[in-house]
C-alpha cells in the first residue's frame, strides 16, 4: 500500500486528479494484481509500461524520463 501511495503521489505531479485512476489501471492491466498490493519489486516492470503509456499522452520525452526516474527511485 505504501509503494502504491508513493507512486500515486509522484504521478499526481504529471497527471493531476487522473493519477490514481491511471496507476491503478496500469497495475491491474499489466501486472495483473490488485493495485494496493503493489510492491517495490513490481516497480521496474511497472515503469516499463508507464514509459509507453505516458509517452502516448505527451511528446515531452524529458518529462517522461523525469517521471519514470522518480518512480524507479522508489524501488531503491
Amino acid at each position: 500500500m505504501e509503494t502504491y501511495n508513493q507512486t500515486i503521489k509522484i504521478a499526481t505531479d504529471y497527471l493531476g486528479p487522473a493519477a490514481e485512476r491511471f496507476i491503478a489501471r496500469q497495475v491491474a492491466a499489466h501486472l495483473k494484481k490488485n493495485p494496493k498490493d503493489l510492491t517495490k519489486e513490481d516497480l521496474l516492470k511497472l515503469t516499463e509500461w508507464l514509459r509507453i503509456s505516458i509517452s502516448l499522452l505527451t511528446e515531452d520525452q524529458k518529462m517522461v524520463d523525469e517521471c519514470i526516474g522518480r518512480i524507479q527511485s522508489l524501488a531503491v
Partner: protein
C-alpha cells in the same frame, strides 16, 4: 452504482439526441416551407435567392450543431470513465449543462423558423408565441448556467476552499454588473418592447415594464452571474490543479467552456439591441451571422479537443 449511473446517462443521451434530431428536422422543414410574404420579406428577396440564402445559413448551422454534438458525446464518454470520482461528478454536471445550452440553441432555431409561419398564417397567436418563446429563451440558459455553475464550483472545491473561491469574485461581479446595466438600459430604450408599429415586426415582449423586469431581466442577470462565476471557478481549477499533462488538457477544456458560456451570454446581451439592427444592411447581417456561427464552431471544437485529450489519460 457506477453501472447504474452510466446506464442513466446513456438513456439521457439517447433521448437527447433523438429529441434534438427531431427538432433539427422540424427546423429544416419549417425553414424551407415558410411562405414568402410581404411582411416576412423585408429585403425583397426572390424565392430562389431566399432558398440559396437559407442553404448558406443552414449548412454552417448544421456544422455548428454537429460540432456541439461531437463535444457532447465526447464529454459523456469522458464522464462515464470517471463517474465515481469527485472530479467525474463535477464534470458530469458541466456536461449536462452544456447539453441543455445546446438544446436551447436548437429550440431557438425552431422557434425562429416557426415565427415565419405564425407571421404568415396565425397572427392571432403571435403575442402568445412571442411571450412563450421569450420565457424559453430565459429559462433554458438559466438551467444550463446553474448546472455548469454547480459542476464548476464542485470542481474548484477539489483544489481550494470556499473562501478562496469567493475572494476571486470581485472582478467578475463588477463585469456582470456593468453588462447588466447596459442590458437594462438598452432593453428599456427599446420602443417596441410592449407593442410594435411596424408591420411584420412583432413587439419584443408584449409585457408590462414591471413584468419584463421581474420575469425577463432578473432571471437573465442571475443566469449571467452564474455563467461568469462558472468561468471563474474553472479558471481557479485550471490554475490550481496539479499535473503537467492533465493541466495542459484541462486548459483546452476550460477554453472551450469559456468561449461557449461567454459567447452565449454575449448573444443574450446583443439580442437586447436587436431593434437597432433594423437599420443595418443585409450584407452586414449575414457577416454577423457567419461570425457568430464560426465562434460557436470554434468553441465546441476546442471543447471536444480538450475532452478527447482528457479522455486519453483515462483510457491509455
Amino acid at each position: 452504482m457506477e453501472t447504474s449511473a452510466k446506464k442513466h446517462s446513456s438513456i439521457f443521451l439517447s433521448i437527447y439526441i433523438l429529441v434534438s434530431g427531431l427538432l433539427w428536422i422540424a427546423y429544416f422543414i419549417l425553414t424551407f416551407s415558410t411562405p414568402l410574404t410581404e411582411a416576412s420579406n423585408k429585403f425583397n428577396l426572390t424565392l430562389f435567392s431566399r432558398t440559396l440564402l437559407q442553404i448558406s445559413i443552414i449548412l454552417p448551422i448544421f456544422i455548428a450543431w454537429f460540432a456541439s454534438f461531437y463535444a457532447t458525446i465526447g464529454l459523456k464518454k469522458y464522464t462515464d470513465l470517471i463517474i465515481v470520482s469527485e472530479d467525474g461528478k463535477a464534470v458530469r454536471l458541466i456536461g449536462v449543462g452544456i447539453s441543455v445550452l445546446i438544446f436551447g440553441l436548437v429550440l431557438s432555431l425552431v422557434a425562429g423558423s416557426l415565427r415565419g409561419y405564425i407571421l404568415a398564417y396565425y397572427t392571432e397567436y403571435l403575442k402568445l408565441f412571442v411571450i412563450i418563446n421569450n420565457y424559453i429563451t430565459v429559462a433554458v440558459p438559466l438551467v444550463s448556467y446553474w448546472l455548469i455553475f454547480k459542476g464548476s464550483y464542485k470542481l474548484a472545491l477539489t483544489v481550494t476552499d470556499k473562501k478562496f473561491i469567493k475572494s476571486n469574485r470581485f472582478f467578475p461581479i463588477c463585469i456582470t454588473l456593468v453588462l447588466s446595466a447596459v442590458y437594462i438600459v438598452s432593453l428599456f430604450l427599446n420602443p417596441i418592447r410592449q407593442s410594435s408599429p411596424y408591420p411584420g415586426t412583432p413587439a419584443t415582449y408584449y409585457l408590462s415594464d414591471l413584468w419584463i423586469l421581474l420575469t425577463i431581466c432578473i432571471p437573465y442577470i442571475i443566469g449571467w452571474f452564474l455563467g461568469v462565476f462558472s468561468i471563474c471557478n474553472l479558471k481557479i481549477f485550471t490554475k490550481k490543479t496539479t499535473g503537467f499533462i492533465y493541466k495542459k488538457s484541462f486548459k483546452r477544456f476550460n477554453l472551450g467552456i469559456t468561449i461557449i458560456v461567454g459567447f452565449s451570454i454575449m448573444m443574450q446581451i446583443l439580442s437586447s439591441f436587436s431593434v437597432s439592427f433594423r437599420n443595418i444592411s443585409f450584407d452586414w447581417i449575414l457577416v454577423i451571422v457567419y461570425i457568430i456561427i464560426a465562434i460557436l464552431v470554434a468553441g465546441y471544437l476546442i471543447l471536444a479537443s480538450g475532452v478527447n485529450k482528457l479522455k486519453d489519460i483515462e483510457i491509455v
